[in-house]
Symmetry: C2
Subunit: 339 residues, 2 copies
Amino acid sequence: MPKIVLDAMGSDNYPEPELQAAVQAAQLFGDEVILTGPEATLAPKLAALGAKNVRLVDAPEVFEMTDKISPGMLKRAKNSMAVGMQMVKSGEADAFVTMGNTGGAMANALVQLGRIRGVIRPALSGLFPVKNGKCAVVDIGANAECKPEYLVQFALMGSAYADKVLGIRNPRVGLISNGEEAGKGNDLVKATHPLLAATSGLNFVGNIEGKELFGGHADVAVTDGFTGNVLLKSSEAVARLLVDTLREELTSSFVTKIGAALARPAFGKLRKMLDPAEIGAAPLLGVDGLVFVGHGRSDARAVISAIRTARQAVESNLMVHLRAAIEKQAQSLKLEESA
Amino acid sequence: MPKIVLDAMGSDNYPEPELQAAVQAAQLFGDEVILTGPEATLAPKLAALGAKNVRLVDAPEVFEMTDKISPGMLKRAKNSMAVGMQMVKSGEADAFVTMGNTGGAMANALVQLGRIRGVIRPALSGLFPVKNGKCAVVDIGANAECKPEYLVQFALMGSAYADKVLGIRNPRVGLISNGEEAGKGNDLVKATHPLLAATSGLNFVGNIEGKELFGGHADVAVTDGFTGNVLLKSSEAVARLLVDTLREELTSSFVTKIGAALARPAFGKLRKMLDPAEIGAAPLLGVDGLVFVGHGRSDARAVISAIRTARQAVESNLMVHLRAAIEKQAQSLKLEESA
């Protein structure tokens, strides 16, 4: 029975979505849910919800993103992220789930959990809604500058995640580029392409562009953290612009309002596609413990979905598979060297 | 009276949109339009349209994008792009307009027209539909690897273009990054930010993300050609995915079909936003002559819109302003060195 520790202070509307989700998830899955956050504030709210099988662990500090913070300070930190991850580190919990800042989660995770042995750079993964499914993009922001060997590890870890958590057997891995042809790309992409092609155990489908990514031609898309972050934020912004424009116009006249009401079911699929609850949460890949980060806009339903994703990762032994993939790569590199 | 030379062979449905556009534009603007393409094929079609004030210049070859092509071969090329640009070079025409491949246009332009004196790397610009307007993104694909000084020139040229052709006084220039704060970015962005801030005559608004770009907070967005290309293609793919999903669902039942029919006017703004005719055409920046590239999906109306854009560039003396901006930068760099 997976033991999940949930950050009560992560979402844009914290702690309400998290409190409700914790109470409902404990009931739904029949397992205790641990919540981290300031006990003084949260305990009465939790009691008011009639919580059963939800344990509150005090985390009195508030995590602020600053450049001045030192690893030593972070190590002793008592914010809701740090406390939750300390429980994963000690084995008291199996996975940590937060709707908070992804960069903050990574900063805390590097200090509290460290890296998987052999991982050069941990990465942030993000799930993108694509035609008839989802695509996991790695890295969406942890490493603005990357080397080819980082991207190979992103591919291996993304692939294990897609297999074990998203349930996609032999996931197709694409390399984001400015052209599908093998010779296209910036220096990083050109150097990475042959490495990915030569990595055993990867279903590498070559370079991909927006058309392939959003057309659902890859299950994992690998890129440097700068490009991945620009891609993520631009995609969200385009979707928002289109949806806002349509909404504005649909409510601009009596006739279009009636039309919109009749056509309402048709917007369901679009809404579902952009719903954080459908996306769930995506893991930090390469840190030595399970950490899942969901969308800040999450409501209780989306938080429960994130918890479900984390439980799936625990039950499928994702950590074991991630460690094995990196270990296998290290060994094959050693074999190559000695050959 | 601006003399425009139009590539008859550029659009996805060539040459029909181009032929119709040439005939209509000649009438609309009262100036002769020159068309380049294989005379044998085009002359009868043009006659059938009852063309007046449209001159056909023979370009019997077809341009193919290949890696093996040499500059010497390109120089003597008789494809519709090369022939049109040769006319701009010789002064027989003021601007060349094509709906063809942007990379092909750049390859031809570098050979036929060369670079503006002082320009290190010419760039491709692309017009993105954003909230309440458009944003010119430079570079969208010519230079996969960039140096900070290239991006400064992209900013200067993009700014002159936005001012003279798009009619935006004192255009706001943003630097695409993975965070709005000045310290954020990959190495290129971090090195470019202070240079842009120190460039006189630029209205630099700092780093921008997708939210700012598509929210209409910048008129010009500067980035390397790899990121710009990924951004362009992803944005198009996201828009297509959303629109296709909506269309599919809207026609899935009798009731939603009626709703869609009633709500139809509301889709007008969205359609307009994504319409190539609204976008018109964007220039190659830094080549020594006016070349405008429109969308491959263009119909006759979109081609006319591209011709209108090119005429505006001629009438506002864009080339003179581009040369002046680069010259001024070179002088200020010299002054700095000697100081």
